[in-house]
């Protein structure tokens, strides 16, 4: 079992009378990529700021790498990299100068700093723009420069707040690749976003925020089972006798629907394609097509909020 690098219990943040974060519990294991999802204003950024000790905690407790960020902020901030929402740089300085300033604040020696800056810029593919003023950078380049800062810090945990919002599709893909590279280095990544398919592409587990609470947490498959009932939808196109019954007999399949004479749609809680193929072959059927729709986070998210909205409306009525 991997050790927990971030653990929060009953974490609460109040601004005056208003509770923005309402007692959330969160556990992050070392090396995993965790996604914080939710609409704007759901408390994601506030939670992140509490993890970094940049805002006070009203109640509850949080440990980051075993330290209390409110009491030992320097230790926490030395080991955690943060890429804020709409990150900014000093426009009149070059990329290298900006990173050098952060490097000095991190307390790196000049040689070490130069070495790390060069490596980090190469990692995010900004070496060509290293000597240019940040004022001329596009949004995608700025985000990458922000990630370079996290890389340069050799952070054990990288907290990325809305890293891809406002990026064009090409830059988004590039940025997600960079996140994956970071993950393969063993860095624990906490990613907040409201762009669901991106989170799904890189995250191991996600937590769904709503009005300051975590309403759902787990891997995408688990969430799908919870919310959609069954996560996977397998489509089988085959000719043969009595296929419907055979397909329904596969373990994990909750229902089979015949959409056309040769087409069956299975709802299952796992990827049952191998079993379906076997079943068709065993029935001497001719298998012509087999496909699976993975559960999309978007479907889960939409369904979840529709459901809760409905119950709320019913409750109100």
């Amino acid at each position: 079992m991997n050790p927990q690098v971030i653990s929060a219990h009953g974490l609460t943040k109040r601004y005056g009378q208003v509770e923005v974060v309402k007692g959330i519990d969160l556990e992050l294991a070392k090396g995993e990529t965790f996604g914080l999802l939710g609409p704007n204003g759901a408390g994601k950024t506030t939670t992140i700021l509490m993890m970094l000790g940049l805002t006070d905690i009203s109640a509850g407790e949080i440990r980051v790498l075993g330290h209390d960020p409110a009491r030992e902020p320097l230790t926490v901030k030395r080991r955690v990299g943060y890429l804020p929402d709409s990150v900014g740089f000093y426009e009149h300085l070059t990329a290298i100068e900006n990173l050098a300033y952060s490097g000095k604040l991190m307390g790196l020696s000049p040689q070490e700093r130069d070495r790390r800056i060069g490596a980090a810029l190469a990692r995010v593919r900004l070496t060509d723009a290293a000597g240019k003023k940040v004022g001329t950078f596009s949004r995608g380049m700025r985000q990458r420069l922000g990630l370079a800062e996290v890389i340069m810090k050799r952070a054990e945990i990288a907290i990325l707040d809305e890293p891809t919002s406002g990026l064009d599709p090409q830059s988004t893909l590039e940025f997600l690749d960079l996140i994956r590279e970071l993950k393969s280095d063993g860095v624990t990544i906490l990613l907040s976003s409201h762009l669901l398919d991106q989170v799904q592409r890189v995250c191991d587990r996600v937590a769904l925020f709503k009005d300051g609470r975590i309403v759902l947490a787990g891997s995408v498959g688990e969430l799908a089972r919870q919310v959609l009932g069954s996560g996977f939808s397998v489509e089988v196109e085959a000719e043969g006798e009595g296929l419907e019954a055979r397909l329904a007999a596969i373990s994990g399949v909750s229902s089979v629907r015949r959409t056309s004479p040769t087409c069956y749609r299975l709802s299952a809680d796992r990827d049952v394609r191998p079993d379906a193929a076997r079943a068709v072959v065993a029935a001497n059927g001719a298998l012509t097509r087999l496909s699976v729709d993975e559960p999309s986070l978007e479907a889960i998210y939409t369904r979840y909020f529709q459901q809760t909205d409905k119950t709320e409306v019913r409750d109100a009525a």
Partner: protein, 320 residues
Amino acid sequence: MRREGSPFQGTGTVLVKELADHLSSVRMRVLEWLIVLTAAAALYGAIDTLRQSTAEDPFLLLRIFTVERSPLPSFVTILGFLIPLMAIGLGFDAINGEHNRGTLSRILSQPIYRDALLAGKFLAGLGTIAISLTALWLLVVGLGLLLLGVPPGGEEVLRALAFLCVTILYAGVWLALAMLLSVILRSPASAALVALGLWLLFMVLWPMLGPALAQVIAPPDPQYALLGLPTPETLEWQQRLLRVSPNYLFGEAMLAILSPSTRALGPVFLEQLQGAVMGAPLPVLQSLMLAWPQTVGLIAAVIVLFTAGYVLFQRQEVRA
């Protein structure tokens, strides 16, 4: 419970970066030239006047700072007028500028405390002003030496140095005020406007409002008025009110330091002057003691304003 580590870790880094920014910024260049050109004009007038009156003055160097020839005010008056402008120019966007650029949360996520950022920025601003003022001061003294040809005595140099120190302090008051406003107000433009408003208030309006308010608080006694004398109470109130303005404090301190014959800053009864040799200069130490309360007032203003900014900044939310 104590926080771990030093609150000033990283202050030096912030200081060096901000100092470099200030010294290379266009804004600073403009302010410097504004001060140098106006001061040069005042200086030219002063030196010209001094040359024509070849009276034997033991404090020739100090006269450069204080002599005025209309329509230009003296060098000290001009500094008192323009230094706040320079300090405001350096401080009005210190914190809210970082906020708006989105750099604040990134910088604060580095292993430093907020203390380091605020203190570094304040010291960098003060350092910038100190460098420019020292350069200006050396220029003035050098020009004085060249054009007047009289070497200054030790006492004069001491007084001139005291003048430099108090001037830097005075700039510190305005810098701390500008930075406080940059913490309170999210928009740099409104911070600059409010700071300039206060500057105008203390520069132009307060010298008129102070006496008027004093007359409301302590109405003049008709008995004194009959004798053509000001009422002591009104006078006292007037002085108290005027001394709220850092500008007035600076003016008083300058009067004591640069005009050695100044014996008191405020109303004096005739009997207190008994035995005094009018017009005789005071020793340096006595003059400095005379200016000390004003200087302490300026130091206190710096501390109060900086602390207010510090407290507010510590409690401020960093999210954009």
